[in-house]
């Protein structure tokens, strides 16, 4: 695979509200190859969500170019993009009255289907998605009865039902406890191995990012200030620059480097 699945070149992007423009991304260059796993870190407002939006084609660029599988994303229809790219938003309220399997089936929307039903490909995709997301047992449950962790698994299944080559997730671990958060990341690794899907995850937890991601990208004020393996990226200078916090570096028994924030307790 020589062609990266996603390539951003000098991308500028932002939001326009009532008269003035807020530029969030200022010149971002990024290439992600097929099957890569990538964690995106950065302070609030640094542009992480915008970065995902640009890669999903839902946020248009003001400058620069975005290519998906070699083709400019602007030239692709939403449905085309949705067949390759699945996005898990920060929060998603599931509509009442549906069962889990029905919601996951909505992931089949971008794929041309029958007029009035679901075909065997859809059935298979949904079954695979539920299994891969470890949500098989939830298939018949009403969505309003799910716990937070269960809901997260269902959302992953929903994304997987699209049969994407690129999976974008915006802070999926924020509301999860340690067990569920690590479980989710483990699932993502498993998915990448099983389906070859490219995974880009925005994380806020430096420790989790350090222990999971083979590649970390750090954003600061709309620019990428670090891009590489965690050992190289997760250094105190970067943490100070990106987050404005002082950190201590620790090395685990397994030899991994983690950053531990310094909490000024005044003692």
């Amino acid at each position: 695979m020589t062609e990266p699945i996603v390539r951003l070149a000098a991308v500028e992007a932002g939001y326009r509200t009532a008269g003035h423009e807020r530029r969030v991304l200022r010149g971002v260059d990024l290439e992600v190859g097929h099957g890569e796993m990538l964690a995106v870190l950065g302070a609030n407002g640094s542009g992480k969500t915008t970065l995902l939006g640009v890669m999903a084609g839902t946020i248009p660029t003001i400058g620069g170019s975005v290519e998906l599988d070699g083709l400019p994303i602007a030239r692709r229809s939403r449905a085309e993009i949705a067949r390759s790219v699945a996005v898990l938003p920060q929060s998603l309220e599931l509509p009442a009255g549906f069962r889990v399997a029905e919601v996951v089936a909505m992931g089949r929307t971008p794929h041309d289907g029958r007029w009035f039903g679901w075909g065997p490909e859809d059935q298979d995709a949904v079954a695979d998605a539920l299994r891969d997301a470890d949500a098989e047992s939830l298939a018949d449950r009403p969505v309003r009865e799910l716990s937070g962790g269960e809901r997260q698994r269902v959302l992953v299944a929903l994304a997987l039902a699209q049969e994407p080559s690129l999976l974008l997730m915006d802070e999926p671990t924020t509301h999860l406890d340690v067990a569920h958060a690590t479980g989710l990341l483990a699932t993502l690794s498993r998915l990448q191995r099983a389906r070859g899907v490219t995974v880009i995850v925005v994380l806020h937890d430096l420790v989790l990012a350090g222990s999971w991601a083979p590649r970390v990208v750090v954003l600061d004020a709309g620019r990428i200030v670090a891009d590489g393996p965690p050992d190289a990226v997760l250094v105190p200078e970067i943490a100070r620059r990106a987050y404005g916090v002082a950190v201590d570096t620790a090395v685990t028994e397994g030899g991994r480097r983690v950053l531990v924030p310094h909490v000024p307790t005044g003692r």
Binding site: S77, A101, T109
Partner: protein, 356 residues
């Protein structure tokens, strides 16, 4: 890729059996309602005769054993009225379902962004115009202006609510409310100065199928049928919109375009319905809710079911209206619909069903 064997009985969406039951039941309901409405009435035509008349007219079969007046009543009066009722009921229920999903508002009905107010204004203007032709009130003019008024209003509301980033649902609702109020004020003013035409105006506003005729059916039915057929095909997009506009976009839907298309299609059906039968209330609001209680929120089944039960219900309501002395059907739907709606609200408030 085939892993269905790993998950033995994965079936999503309502089971095939359930779908068949609901759709089949709906079709049966419509058929029964239509049959009842064609065979029952104030003039004592026997059930057998009524059926025989319809068969005779459609196929030419059978000796003619009934008086010409009976044939006129069944074929020229009752049958067009029944067909109009089915088509209007289906159109309104379908439009109501679509607006409830699109606007993510359970109180939405087909009139919420203005077609009723616009159609009313058009119709009342036509009713009050002193038409020079032989003293009649230009009946064709009423339907035409009502349809144009309804559709135009929705397009105006869409245009007003459209911003640079798209058409936010809340803006659409507010613009619809504002325009509706404005147009309703115009209607009220016209009512005030309607003089002897008041009865005709009120009757139209209440909604009635009494003026149904084959020429009207020929004009309105294709519009409504085409609209709801196209809407039926969009069930996946309607489901996705229930997740929210962002997630729907990620699922491949051109959200802004889809909102416009859905609005225009639903407005077409609504305007055509209102043009031929006045502003019949509650069908578009209550039928989707009732059907959703039984069938669930999946539009794959909800839309066709709403359509069928809306058609059947309006035909039944009109039969009741006829037998109750020629009351406008809008009165019957309001009398039945309002208590139903209150009952639905109570269910919601007391937490019987899932809260949105």
């Amino acid at each position: 890729m085939s892993a269905t064997t790993a998950v033995p009985s994965l079936a999503f969406g309502p089971s095939a059996g359930r779908s068949a039951l609901v759709i089949g039941g709906g079709a049966l309901f419509v058929l029964l309602a239509a049959t009842a409405a064609v065979t029952l009435g104030t003039s004592g035509i026997g059930v057998g005769d009524a059926v025989a008349i319809v068969v005779h007219r459609l196929t030419g079969i059978g000796p003619v054993t009934w008086p010409a007046s009976a044939e006129t009543i069944v074929w020229e009066l009752r049958l067009p009225r029944v067909v109009t009722g089915m088509v209007v009921g289906a159109g309104l229920a379908c439009a109501g379902t679509v607006f409830q999903a699109l606007l993510r508002n359970p109180m939405a009905d087909p009139y919420i962004i203005g077609p009723a107010a616009g159609a009313s204004l058009g119709a009342v203007v036509a009713l009050l115009l002193p038409v020079a032709t032989a003293g009649w009130l230009g009946i064709g003019l009423v339907q035409t202006l009502a349809f144009v008024g309804g559709l135009l209003t929705v397009l105006v509301v869409l245009a007003i609510a459209r911003g640079r980033g798209g058409t936010p649902v809340v803006t659409l609702l507010l613009a619809g409310y504002a325009i509706s109020s404005l147009l309703s004020a115009g209607v009220a003013l016209l009512i005030f100065s309607s003089g002897e035409r008041l009865a005709a105006v009120i009757s139209w506003l209440l909604g009635s199928l009494a003026g149904a005729s084959w020429p009207r059916v020929a004009v309105a039915a294709p519009l409504i049928v085409v609209s709801f057929t196209l809407l039926l095909l969009r069930w996946r997009r309607l489901n996705a919109l229930l997740l929210g506009e962002g997630p729907a976009a990620h699922l491949g839907i051109e959200v802004e375009r889809e909102k416009r298309v859905l609005t225009v299609l639903a407005a077409l059906a609504t305007s055509a319905a209102v043009a031929v039968s006045g502003t019949i209330g509650f069908v578009g609001l209550v039928v989707p809710h009732l059907v959703r209680l039984v069938v669930g929120p999946d539009h794959r089944l909800l839309l066709p079911a709403s359509l069928l039960y809306g058609a059947g219900l309006l035909v039944v309501a009109d039969l009741g209206a006829r037998l109750a002395g020629g009351v406008p059907v809008g009165v019957v739907t309001a009398l039945l619909g309002a208590p139903f709606f209150l009952w639905l609200l109570r269910r919601r408030v007391t937490g019987v069903e899932d809260r949105p």
